[in-house]
């Protein structure tokens, strides 16, 4: 029904005979929902000229994500003008709007002013308060309910939802909550829709060009129950997956293997790789260690391997000669094998961290990540080669409370201090620590046989933050 038809008195749902009676010159065409949908899909693809990502909004809408793309068209207003001109050239009537959320854009396009632009810094509720509740993309019966409740505009709902003003509105919100308590679908629940409109809850959209993940599977004629057969199948799948990935120019970062058992159980094992790879032997080897606790039950009938995360990986020259085979695994493969057997936390790289406390000055991160930028360290501070996770308490004999240590007992042995350097005073981080945290005076010491330690006195005798200071051994110098 176009504008001219509506002006002549036609309404959707009217009988054709009635319409002809109202306006004898009316033109009709048979409905073609499937054709419309196909056309809309093509239109959504074509609309990706304004943004990298678009989704269908049946029956007659297209959502385009123009994040960080508007400047290519000279701003949002000119982008909308460009959209209207392009649709006009294709003889299509269009209403456009730009908003931070898909819900708000939909509301503005359907019920707002022409070429409306809602900026992220605008107050969305205020701008949208004059729109009817139908702008929330609700089902027909919900709109009827709201109209009967007297909630006609979004402005009526806004106070209810945000609970701004007084007790009566809070009570109204509770009543609305209770009324739509059982409505889980967003289209049936105005509160969910309003949150989506304001961007308070995420709204998943299906993109028109879906991301396909590489997937290979084997349906087995005979269910397998033995490990050797399963290993063979996984080896075959890995080879197939490697071929699939090679065709796409990608390498897998995360792989999932699913084993469908005859009795209806599905076993899934995941594998994360340190770097993109498509080496079938490597994948097989990693999975064989993962499958040790598999219970095959009455047998496994389907095995499926999926690369749920793949990254571009250029085609590389294979090893030219057999000599390269002797050179062993690459670093990525080595780290994969270590993490699969020992766990994520076991294989790490120490990196510096901006802190003057010794134990906070180093952090651990996965071995192949880039080291974060950091300030250079001061070379005159000598640090021990090894640090204890928890400083060990020692008993120290000293000449005066804040003088050098003379002798100490650690793990049952008495060490005579032969040489000492210090103290290096390391104060607590006052912006993080509590006010009663004590400072530390570090000493580098060497005992009579040459063993070198890093010990500290925790606090001062008269700092009023506890009793007599304790001594701790924190690290071993090389």
């Amino acid at each position: 029904m176009n504008d001219a038809g509506q002006a002549a008195g036609g309404r959707p749902g009217m009988m054709l005979a009635d319409a002809r009676a109202l306006c004898p010159a009316i033109q009709t065409a048979p409905a073609d929902p499937a054709g419309d949908l196909a056309f809309l899909e093509k239109l959504a693809l074509w609309s990706q000229r304004w943004g990298p990502w678009s989704a269908l909004d049946p029956p007659d809408g297209v959502l385009v994500d123009i994040s960080a793309a508007a400047h290519l068209f000279g701003g949002e207003a000119r982008l909308l003008a460009d959209v209207e001109a392009a649709f006009g050239r294709r003889k299509l009537a269009v209403r456009t709007a730009i908003a931070p959320t898909a819900g708000a854009a939909w509301a503005l396009a359907h019920f707002g002013p022409l070429r409306a632009i809602l900026c992220p810094q605008d107050n969305a509720l205020q701008r949208l308060s004059s729109l009817p509740v139908a702008a929330l993309r609700l089902d027909e019966d919900v709109i009827t309910v709201l109209r009967r409740l007297g909630l006609k505009h979004l402005g009526n709902l806004s106070g209810v939802v945000t609970g701004l003003a007084d007790r009566s509105e809070a009570a109204a919100r509770d009543a609305l909550h209770r009324r739509f308590r059982n409505r889980k679908s967003p289209a049936a629940n105005p509160l969910v829709r309003l949150d989506q409109l304001l961007g308070k809850v995420p709204e998943p959209l299906l993109p028109v060009v879906p991301q396909e993940t590489p997937l290979v599977q084997r349906r087995l004629m005979e269910p397998i129950r033995h490990r050797t057969l399963l290993d063979t199948v996984i080896g075959d799948l890995a080879v197939e997956m490697a071929r699939e990935l090679e065709g796409r120019g990608e390498g897998a970062r995360r792989l999932e293997i699913g084993l469908w058992r005859v009795d209806g159980e599905v076993l899934v094992r995941k594998l994360e790789l340190a770097a993109a790879t498509r080496e079938a032997a490597h994948i097989t080897r990693l999975f064989t260690t993962k499958l040790d606790d598999i219970d095959a039950g009455f047998g496994i009938e389907t095995v499926r391997l999926r690369a749920s995360w793949a990254e571009p990986l250029a085609l590389a020259q294979g090893d030219i000669d057999a000599a390269a085979e002797r050179h062993g695994t690459s670093l990525n493969a080595c780290i994969d094998r270590l993490t699969v057997r020992l766990g994520e936390k076991a294989v790490r790289r120490p990196v510096p961290h901006a802190s003057h406390l010794p134990e906070r000055a180093q952090r651990w991160q996965p071995p192949l990540e880039l080291e974060p930028a950091s300030q250079g360290v001061l070379e005159f501070q000598q640090r021990p080669l090894k640090l204890f996770d928890k400083p060990e308490e020692i008993a120290v004999l000293y000449a005066s409370p804040d003088g050098f240590p003379r002798r100490f007992r650690w793990r049952g042995d008495v060490h005579e201090v032969a040489r000492v350097e210090g103290p290096e005073r390391i104060a607590p981080e006052w912006w993080r620590a509590r006010s009663t945290t004590r400072l530390r005076d570090y000493y580098r010491i060497e005992d009579e046989t040459g063993r070198r330690y890093w010990i500290y006195r925790h606090g001062l005798a008269d700092d009023g933050r506890g009793g007599a200071p304790q001594w701790y051994l924190h690290g071993l110098c090389a």
């Binding site: 090894k386 204890f388 040459g450 063993r451």
Partner: protein, 287 residues
């Protein structure tokens, strides 16, 4: 007496002032005279910056101090420096290669964890640390590291004499190291020197450090009293090793009076321990 030396052995030998060897692959046949000359050079003393670095060494130390890890690190830096001198310009730059440091849980609890700011500056940015719960896991990690072509070296720390670390396991480590050319220094903390196939075995304890120039009361450059008690191609001996700005220095113990005289380096090769003459054949035919 026919004897065969693999091509890797020949490359290693070429750093010696011994008889010149034809380069290239294939087996090399040594005649008796050459063999005698070779065995003579092979009975030489160990010294720092040797071209023929062993690929599997063990360092026996106590957990109460870091001298074991310190000596292993010093030896590793020495070996990496030598490798950088004999550097193949086509190979990947040595100083980009990573270093794997494996500690088992008891070693971390008894001896502490590696500390970033205490590491030598050239190794800080390329250290990968593995925390293994059991000695079995530690051995697995060591072997995987040795099979990796992108590692400069592997350093391990294992406490005690676990049952899994028997001769077979150490032989596996030796073979993996020699097949792939990745050197391993295994620090054995509080362990008895049992059967092992390590090419060099050290026993180390801390030694009083040299007096620093500016503050005589402060601890100086770390030094260790290291005893080489079993080596495949060197006579055993005992040295005071110290690390002076990344350079491994060795001097004989009880030789502090002779240390200031010129030419003491030549005297340092005077023997305190009887050299082992009976092992020359086995030592030189390092297959």
């Amino acid at each position: 007496m026919p004897n065969f030396v693999s091509s890797a052995g020949v490359d290693a030998l070429s750093g010696f002032p011994g008889p010149s060897r034809p380069k290239g692959g294939g087996a090399v046949r040594l005649d008796a005279a050459e063999l005698a000359a070779l065995s003579k050079t092979r009975e030489a003393r160990w010294r720092p910056q040797l071209a023929d670095q062993p690929l599997h060494s063990e360092v026996f130390a106590d957990t109460g101090n870091a001298s074991g890890a310190g000596l292993a690190l010093a030896l590793a830096r020495d070996a990496l420096k030598v490798a950088a001198q004999h550097h193949d310009p086509l190979a990947e730059a040595e100083d980009r290669l990573q270093v794997l440091w494996v500690q088992d849980a008891r070693a971390i609890r008894r001896g502490g964890r590696v500390y970033y700011h205490g590491l030598p500056p050239e190794l800080r940015h390329r250290l990968i640390h593995v925390e293994a719960k059991t000695p079995e896991d530690a051995l697995f990690a060591l072997e995987e590291g040795l099979r990796c072509r992108d590692l400069a070296c592997v350093i391990g720390e294992i406490v005690g004499n676990p049952r899994t670390l028997d001769f077979t396991a150490s032989r596996r480590l030796s073979l993996a190291a020699e097949q792939h050319g990745v050197p391993l220094w295994l620090v054995r903390l509080e362990a008895q020197p049992d059967l092992s196939s390590a090419r060099m075995r050290w026993r180390v304890e801390a030694a009083p450090s040299a007096t620093p120039r500016w503050n005589a009361d402060a601890p100086g450059m770390p030094s260790w009293k290291a005893e080489l008690f079993r080596a495949r191609s060197y006579a055993p001996g005992e040295w005071i090793l110290s690390n002076d700005n990344g350079r491994l220095q060795a001097r004989r113990p009880h030789a502090s009076t002779a240390a200031n005289t010129q030419g003491s380096a030549a005297q340092n090769s005077g023997d305190l321990v009887r050299p082992t003459f009976g092992r020359s054949l086995a030592a030189s035919a390092r297959a």
